[in-house]
């Protein structure tokens, strides 16, 4: 099916069109309870266990707003430099879908809680782009449908569907950008960088788990192309199911090349929802809607308006933590990093880990060196993100401490780290289990040296004749015999002493 889709070469796309982006991000808040009822807000769990009359939309049930969710919404708004509404309401968005218990979503429409903000986004090369925020509003999540029997797991062709309402009513904040024009070739990168920056911000605010793989952060990417010849805005598509930062970039890029091919062949881009396929990196149209969508929004009569006092808003402003860009500036200064080094650390996703390692007692240089070299290699070999490695910053700090105290050589330290990554326990446990101790007992080393000299008499003779560099072969043999646990410098001293 994908083979039928014509794509235009990316360079040609950029030559002919200006891409225009719009990004809608849904964030699940990690409040204790749901948006409008007292049910636990928890990921996973037996289907339909975290439910009650309200989140199941049973006849007669009513919503009550979760104050903590409003607080989170305001803090997100403030961190995104938004204005906070003095008075706003919820609205009902009416449409039928089985995973939505009331067949309307309680959301916000023309009166969002936060609006008119911006977020500065740093690209890979350090360039900063300001993305304007249209609004951030509160709403509830839907349940989940599991379509059984079809080939694709989508509703089309399924034999039956199962519904789990544990997620129904989970608090969501939808953050919508204004149109982002003028990014040209870098549009896909800008999209990824924006979602990354937003994710880091939300993490710093501690309002959400921001796990794209678990759906607690979801991005819908709107893409359109404006022909350079006319400058007119093109028809946009909205791509859903973009479940990783990398997918954001891929989906935007794919849509650009696809739309350009459609336009170049004289066709028209259809305004539609598209579905990103992770494995093929392509998008395909969502289910065709027979009728135009009319959500018949109207103010939610079951809820009273929300009017956050200015005092409360200012109080919440005071609770904002150090935001990611403020932190980066501080770290750069404290650790005396160049722009380039800082950018590499950020891009590698290493900054948090290094800082945590420093907090755990390591020196910045040492912490940085471990994370960007050996641990980065390990992440790469294992095909995981740096943060996905099974070692904590505190454990890395402990390894560094063991090296500094002379208890481990660098080589042994790497082995200790391997053990931790393999799940053998803490660094100290690994050192114990694997027997990773520097052999510092001279008599044991002398014995090993004597054996090595005896085994290689010709080499021994060379050393005695003053060819000091030949000592290397003996040191190597001793190291091998002691399984690397000897201090090589000390072995060398002993070799030279024995041959003098």
């Amino acid at each position: 099916m994908t083979s039928l889709v014509e794509l235009m070469d990316y360079d040609e796309v950029i030559e002919k069109y200006d891409p225009v982006l719009g990004l809608e991000v849904h964030v699940e808040l990690h409040t204790n309870t749901k948006m409008f009822c007292g049910c636990a807000n928890a990921f996973g769990g037996e289907p339909n266990t975290n439910t009650c009359p309200t989140c199941l939309g049973l006849p007669g049930s009513l919503p009550v707003v979760n104050g903590k969710a409003v607080e989170s919404a305001i803090r997100i708004g403030l961190a995104l430099n938004c204005e906070i509404a003095e008075w706003c309401r919820f609205a009902r968005k009416n449409y039928f879908y089985p995973d939505m218990p009331k067949n309307f979503q309680t959301s916000q429409y023309d009166e969002p809680i936060a609006f008119n903000g911006w977020l500065d986004v740093t690209l890979d090369d350090g360039e900063v782009i300001r993305v304007e925020i249209e609004r951030a509003h509160m709403e509830e999540d839907t349940g989940k449908s599991l379509h059984v029997g079809g080939a694709t797991g989508r509703i089309h062709g399924a034999e039956h569907s199962l519904l789990d309402y544990n997620r129904a009513g989970v608090p969501l904040i939808e953050i919508v950008t204004k149109m982002i024009p003028g990014t040209g070739r870098r549009a896909p990168e800008v999209a990824r960088a924006y979602v990354t920056a937003l994710r880091d911000l939300l993490k710093a605010l501690d309002v959400s788990d921001v796990r794209m793989d678990q759906g607690s952060l979801r991005c819908d990417a709107n893409v359109s192309l404006s022909p350079k010849t006319t400058g007119e805005l093109g028809t946009r598509t909205e791509t859903k199911n973009v479940n990783s930062l990398r997918s954001v970039e891929r989906a935007v890029r794919f849509e650009m090349t696809r739309q350009a091919a459609v336009l170049a062949s004289g066709g028209e881009v259809t305004q539609e929802t598209r579905h990103f396929d992770e494995s093929s990196g392509t998008t395909s149209p969502g289910r065709k809607k027979e009728t135009a969508e009319d959500y018949r929004y109207f103010p939610e009569p079951d809820l009273v308006p929300i009017a956050p006092s200015r005092e409360w808003v200012e109080e919440l402003r005071g609770t904002l933590p150090e935001l990611p860009w403020e932190r980066r500036a501080r770290i750069q200064k404290d650790w005396n990093l160049t722009d380039e080094v800082l950018r590499d650390l950020v891009n590698a996703g290493a900054l948090d880990l290094i800082e945590a390692t420093v907090v755990a007692g390591a020196k910045p240089d040492e912490a940085r060196s471990w994370w960007v070299s050996y641990l980065a290699q390990q992440a790469n070999t294992r095909g995981v993100e740096l943060s996905g490695l099974a070692i904590t910053p505190a454990e890395v700090a402990r390894v560094i401490e063991l090296v500094n105290s002379g208890a481990l050589t660098n080589k042994l330290a790497r082995e200790a780290v391997n053990g931790v990554l393999e799940g053998e326990g803490s660094p100290d446990e690994v050192v114990e289990k694997r027997g990773l101790k520097v052999v510092s007992d001279d008599s044991a080393l002398e014995k090993a040296v004597d054996e090595a000299l005896a085994a290689q008499p010709d080499v021994a003779q060379k050393i005695r004749d003053g060819k000091v560099q030949a000592a290397g072969a003996i040191v190597g043999a001793v190291m091998k015999a002691t399984k690397g646990q000897a201090d090589a410098a000390r072995v060398r001293e002993i070799v030279l002493a024995r041959c003098s």
Partner: protein, 494 residues
Amino acid sequence: MTNDLIHATAAELAAKIHSGEVSSVEVTQAHLDRIAETDGKVHAFLHVDAEGALAQARKVDEAVKAGETVSPLAGVPLALKDVMTTEGVPTTVGSKILEGWLPPYDATVTRKLKEAGVVILGKTNMDEFAMGSSTENSAYGPTHNPWDLDRIPGGSGGGSSAALAALQAPLAIGTDTGGSIRQPGAVTGTVGVKPTYGGVSRYGLVAFSSSLDQAGPCARTVLDAALLHEVIAGYDEMDSTSINEPVPPVVAAAREGLTGDLSGVRIGVVTQFQGEGYQPGVLRSFQAAVSQLKELGAEIADVSCPSFDYALPAYYLIAPSECSSNLARFDAMRYGLRVGDDGTRSTEEVMSLTREAGFGPEVKRRIMIGTYALSSGYYDAYYGSAQKVRTLITRDFQKAFATFDVLISPTTPTTAFKIGERADDPMAMYKADLCTIPANLAGTPAMSVPSGLSDEDGLPVGLQIMAPALQDHRMYRVAAAYEAARGAFGGASL
């Protein structure tokens, strides 16, 4: 004995039960017997819960025996409108679409009744989803007016009011979105009160129109209504629109009113609610009530509320708009009726077939009107304009209440009409709520108290008394004084 028990007021029954003169079980059984004897003709009940009622009665009797202090209405039977959820007891809202549904939870009103020891006899008939003024829209057949079985008992709460008039229960719960407590009260010769919006929790009240729905007490006397009002009213954290204020002192006000003195009370007669379209006998009964109130010492003058003329059209945009959204959840997916799920049809088809089969014509009409009124391009002209009218009506009330303590009018333009008479004429049906709707739109309290019988057809007429928000007690005082002065006017012929 049985005859005495079913004619007694709730206050009298409570006194007898609490003093040990009769048991709640006896009282409950007397009413269950009365239901068994008469409901074949009246059809006030959709479900009688004899077992649950007697169990609750026994509990109260034990408490009385043990010398425990019980709440003022403990042991007294009550008929509950089928719009309130009752855990494990059928709740159909008069619709096929909820046939067989057993709610897993009690409405706040249900819970409060149970906690107060009130004995719930069963669930009463109603127009489907409370949409109607005659109870003819019930999917389970109409209720008959005990005064004349060929006539309607009003609606939507015809079952609750008919149960009172037929002496099947001394107390009942209704809900009032556009007059569904007061209009049935008027045409059955019973008392019906719509409290201030937010005065009684809506949690567990199956919604018709969220911004208008309000549950309230129904009884045969003003004092009984007041006693029940205080049981069900009060702030509920489960309902965001419930008011966090003390419950108005309605029982004290009713007792004060019973002394018969209304000196200094300023009463405004709403001029919009008389004249053309009003039955002469209804207007004569109303004028007699006005004279009687004057004799009690009230100062009475006319007051004009011009925007009330637009209340009916505004209501028939707002209520259907909200209902089109509120009723969307009845889609066969989670509870209630499911039609056409034979493995060959899509979800949308099953939803569609279920809603086609499960909703009656009036419900469908209102869902369609509401869907249209909320559509993009029409929203401002319809829903938007209706909300503006609502504001104007609220202002008219505020202006009138600056001069008057309460306002009065007939509750309905006519007495009970014949079953089937207006079935094919929705506009004629809607006009039954002409006088009651403004109070719903403004969220202010209003009640109907019988003003005797119309001289031309011998059927009951209601006097409507309206008060400012949270001043529910004012109307109770006036109603109780009037009721005492009016005297008995006979009972239903049944």
